[in-house]
Every structure is written in C-alpha cells, then in structure tokens.
C-alpha cells in the first residue's frame, strides 16, 4: 500500500508541475503577441525582457498604423470575403454531395466515399506549382476570387466525408415520408436533412472557415498586388518590410488570430468535432 501512496503523491506533483509547464508553454506566445502589440517602438528596442504591461503605457499606435497605413483594413475584408464564400460553397456542395452518397443508389458509391480522402496524401506544394503555371498562362493568377475554388478543393472532400458520416446516422424514414408526401429531393434536403444536421453543418462551416482563414501558401504564391492580399499574405508582406518595428508585426498577428480564436471560444465543441471527425489537414 505504501508504494500505491508514494506513486500517487508522485503523480500529483508531476501533474501540477506538468500543468503549470504546459500553461506557460502554450499561453506565453499568445500573451507575448498581445503585450508586444500594445508597445511603442522605443519599448520594443529598449526593454525586450520586460514581461509586464503597464496599463498607462498601452499604445494603440501599432494598430492604427497597421490598419490605415499598411492596408490591413483591406486585407481583413479580403480575408472575410474569401473565407465566407468558401464556407458557403463548401457547406452547400458537401450537403448535396453527402446526401447523394448516403441516400441514392449509384454505381461507384463505395469508391466515391473513400477515394476522396486520398487527397490527403498530396502536399499543397505539389499542387501549388502546376496551378501557378496554369493560372499564369490563363491570366487568373493575381486574383482574390481564384482562391475560393482552390480552398474549396482543399476542404470539400473532408466536409463531404464528415457530412456523409453524419447523414448515415440520421433515420431515413422521415425523409421517405417526405418523398411520399410529394416533396422533391431538394425539398427533402432543405426541409428535413438540413434542420436535423445543424450541429454537423456548424462543424463543417467552422472547419472550412478556419482552413480558408489561416491559409498561407496559395495566397502567398498567387497574390502579387497588395489590394488583393488576404490577412496572412499581408502579415508576411509587413514582416518583410519592417525590420525593427516588431510591434507592427505583432499587432497584425493579433488581427489575424483574434477572429479565429473568438470563433473557437464560442463554438469550441463544434470546432473540436470538426477537427476530430475530419482529422484536419495541416
């Protein structure tokens, strides 16, 4: 029994120590990002090891400069535009496609369900160069709209797969009743399937939004003109152009991080379900 007690005590100590270590390790970069974004350039240069933030010295200049002088107001709206449209298309197509895969009989149904996940094997860098070549040839490259189908292709297979698993567990009797009562297939999807799958749709929407919002590589390769930048692309541009003014880069980083973390805070359960069901690519 003494071994039991000894090990229990050890585990308790390890747990408390481990938790503290993890909290610091995970939270510190976010803390530092926020604190640094409220500093002035002088503070960044003079006191790099200053941990605290003096409330009276909070400086919003970095945000002002980033928003109005470095064009981030525009990047924010670009990022929202791309992400929201990716979400709308992704949810719509995945609902319709997921319904077809679970409820309709056709040849190659089983093949469809699994082959679509093979996409996970291909790295983005393999796709980005051929697309760069084609988009350059077609003159589509430097455009914000082209990002939407590219992001859609990255998220749609997972979205469809997630909804497929969800639809499989929905009882199909209500839908059959709807069909018998004269509803069309799309009527059934709209009136029965969608209301019943609201949580799954929320997961898909959040997952897709997150991928599109956070995406860096395609935006970096395809966009050249600053007015068309997404936030991630804008942050890279800013970091390359200011060397010492880290407060600007941190303010920009806060802007790109906050929307996604706020969504996460409110819809943690849905987002976590999206992450685990889709085993997010990344």
């Amino acid at each position: 029994m003494s071994r039991e007690r000894l090990e229990r005590t050890m585990i308790r100590v390890l747990r408390v120590g481990g938790l503290l270590f993890f909290i610091v390790m995970v939270a510190f970069p976010f803390y530092w990002m926020i604190v640094s974004s409220f500093r002035s350039l002088e503070e960044i240069l003079m006191k790099p090891s200053n941990l605290g933030l003096n409330i009276r010295q909070i400086d919003f200049r970095a945000y002002y400069e980033v928003l109005f002088e470095h064009g981030f107001l525009r990047y924010i709206s670009n990022s929202f535009y791309v992400s929201i449209f990716t979400v709308i298309f992704s949810v719509t197509l995945a609902t319709v496609g997921g319904y077809a895969v679970t409820r309709l009989r056709f040849r190659g149904r089983a093949f469809m369900s699994y082959s679509i996940l093979i996409i996970y094997m291909f790295p983005a860098i393999v796709m980005v160069i051929p697309l760069y070549v084609v988009f350059s040839k077609m003159g589509w490259r430097d455009s914000i709209h082209i990002l939407i189908p590219v992001y859609l292709a990255q998220t749609l297979p997972v979205a469809l797969y997630m909804l497929r698993s969800y639809f499989q567990n929905l009882p199909s009797e209500i839908e059959s009743a709807g069909l018998i009562d004269g509803c069309s297939r799309f009527g059934v999807i709209w009136r029965i399937v969608i209301p019943l799958s609201a949580p799954a749709l929320a997961s898909v929407a959040l997952y897709t939004f997150m991928i599109a919002w956070n995406e860096f590589l395609f935006a970096f390769m395809f966009l050249d003109t600053p007015e068309k930048f997404t936030l991630s692309r804008g942050v890279v541009q800013l970091a390359g152009s200011v060397h010492l003014s880290k407060q600007l880069v941190m303010a920009a980083s806060v802007m790109v991080t906050v929307p996604i973390l706020v969504l996460f805070l409110f819809f943690e359960r849905h987002l976590v379900r999206g992450l685990t069901a889709g085993a997010m690519k990344g």
């Binding site: 938790l19 291909f122 160069i129 749609l156 992450l275």
Partner: protein, 312 residues
C-alpha cells in the same frame, strides 16, 4: 429485374451524378489535375520563362529533371534533414499530445478551459505563431535571449533560428547539435501536439474503468496500471496519429519557410521544390523534386502498412 425498378435506379444514378458533379469538378480541376500536370511537367524541360510558350504540350519528354534533382549535391543532405525533421516533429507532437492528454484526463476545476487553451496553437494562423516565435527567439530583440542572459542562464544570446550548429557541453564532451533544425522541430511539437491531444484524450476516456479496478484489486500500482493498461490501450491511436503526422509533416512547407526560409540547415524537400521553381526558375526540376517527395512518402507508407500497422 422489372423495367420500373431499373428506371428508378437510373433516375437516382442520374440525380446522384448531378449532385456530385460540382464536387468532382472542383477536386478534378484543383487537385487531380495539378498532380497529373505535375508529373507531366517533371518530364519536360521547362523553365519559368517558358510558361507562355507552346512547348508545354509537346511530347519532348526527358528524364533530365530527375537526373538533375537526384544528383544535386544538396539532395542527400536535404533528404536527411527532411527525415530528421519529419520523424522528430511527428514523434514529438504525438509525445507532447500524450502528456497533455494524461494531464487533463481527470476531472478538476478549470479542466474545460485548459482543454480549450491546449488546442489554441493548432487553431491559430500559421503566420501569426511563426512570427511570434521568431520574435521571442530573436537574438537582438527577443524576449527569451534577453531574459536568459539577464538571469545568467546564458552567457550570450543564441540565434535559435539562424545558426546551424551549437556546441553543447555534455559532461565535458563538446557535442554539436543542429540548432535551427532542433528549434524548428520543437516548434512543430508545440504547434501540432493538440491534434494528438484531442484523439488521445478521446481514447483515454473510452478505456473501461473496470480494467483499472481489476488491476488495483490485483495490487498493481498507479505506474504499473499506466504501463500495463493505458499504454497498450493507446497503442493503436498512437501509431495512427504518428502516421497522420508523418504524412503531413513530410509535406509541410509553411512552417519552415516562415521560420527560417530553409536556411541554417533546415532545408527540407518541400523548400527545395520551391527553390527550384522560384530560385532557379526551373519548373521541370521543381516538379521532379515534388514527384521524388511523393515517392519517398509512398515508400514510407508501404513499410508502415507492411510492418507497423500489423504490429499494433
């Protein structure tokens, strides 16, 4: 089969086709096509300037790109770096995820909050977290170096992300460690542990409680219970997580590109793909490099399913 059933089946098939067509079109156009096109480009002598020419569709195929890529003096070091980075990053992120899951497995006040916190590195945009870590580790303005030097933990600032080697004193023996590569692997562990954490936590919660009770009755201590019950119960999820992380880490470009641009001994194959295309303007070589990367991943998957998947 009566004709009526057959028509219904046909009707459903046709409807299914149209319902899936947009998804197919998008995936075909923006995933399958680029991959096939990549194979085609890898067999052709094309540079970035040729993009406007018509030569892209000619059948002047060549293996020169593969020859160039495989005999490049940088190829072997790059491959080694890739393997170290991929194995190191995958194992580390799964290991940290395991520790984190064990820490928050039991109920305690604030557990939900901590679970949310632990997921945040994975949710946050890659540009934000890479720039923040670069700033923290910066030798001139970084918090970490200043803090460590002021507290006497370090003699001088260390350029974590821009120095290739660091001589470390292990009990009198000077051992060089690849500094930037280690930093990048540690970052990988920090950013991707939540993925493993979520799955391991879910699996932990599914282990039947009576297994532990039976073991306690038989006199197993807490560590023995962990070793003989928890770990075997987790082996499948751990090996699957390693597989997923391996595939994604070997294909990863963003993190290293944003942290070091592939400098200071962190050049991995994906960075090399980029360098060929936009440094040397050699699209053919770049595509060939991408195919080689894909081949290496396929070899790994072959051995994984041959050996590891059977073991667990």
């Amino acid at each position: 089969m009566s004709p009526r059933v057959s028509t219904l089946f046909e009707k459903e098939s046709r409807l299914a086709f149209w319902m899936l067509a947009p998804t197919f079109a998008v995936v075909l156009g923006f995933v399958i096509f680029p991959v096939v096109w990549n194979l085609w480009l890898s067999l052709k002598p094309v540079s970035l300037e040729d993009l406007r020419g018509i030569s892209l569709f000619q059948f002047n195929l060549t293996l020169k790109n593969f020859q160039k890529v495989l005999t490049d003096p940088e190829f072997i070091p790059t491959l080694l770096t890739t393997l170290i980075y991929t194995f190191g990053g995958s194992i580390l992120s799964v290991f940290i995820g395991l520790i984190a899951a064990l820490l928050v497995h039991q109920e305690f006040p604030g557990r939900g909050l901590l679970r949310g916190l632990f997921i945040s590195p994975y949710i946050a945009p890659v540009v934000a977290v890479t720039f923040t870590w670069s700033f923290i580790l910066d030798p001139q303005l970084g918090f970490f170096n200043w803090f460590a030097v002021e507290k006497g933990l370090l003699d001088q600032p260390i350029p974590f992300l821009s120095q290739r080697w660091l001589e470390l004193n292990f009990f009198g023996v000077m051992l060089p460690i690849p500094l930037a590569l280690t930093s990048v692997i540690l970052f990988e562990g920090w950013r991707y542990f939540p993925f493993a954490f979520l799955f391991i936590l879910a699996r932990l919660q599914a282990i039947p409680e009576d297994l532990y009770q039976a073991a306690s009755v038989d006199g197993a201590s807490p560590f023995q219970r962990f070793y003989y019950i928890t770990l075997p119960q987790l082996s499948t999820v751990l090996s699957t997580l390693f597989l997923f992380r391996f595939i994604w880490t070997i294909n990863k470009f963003d993190d290293i590109f944003l942290l070091t641009r592939g400098q200071a001994g962190t050049k991995v194959l994906t960075i090399k793909v980029y360098d060929y295309a936009f440094g040397e303007l050699n699209i053919g070589a770049s595509s060939a490099m991408a195919m080689v990367l894909f081949g290496i991943l396929s070899i790994f998957l072959f051995f994984y399913f041959r050996w590891i998947a059977k073991e667990v």
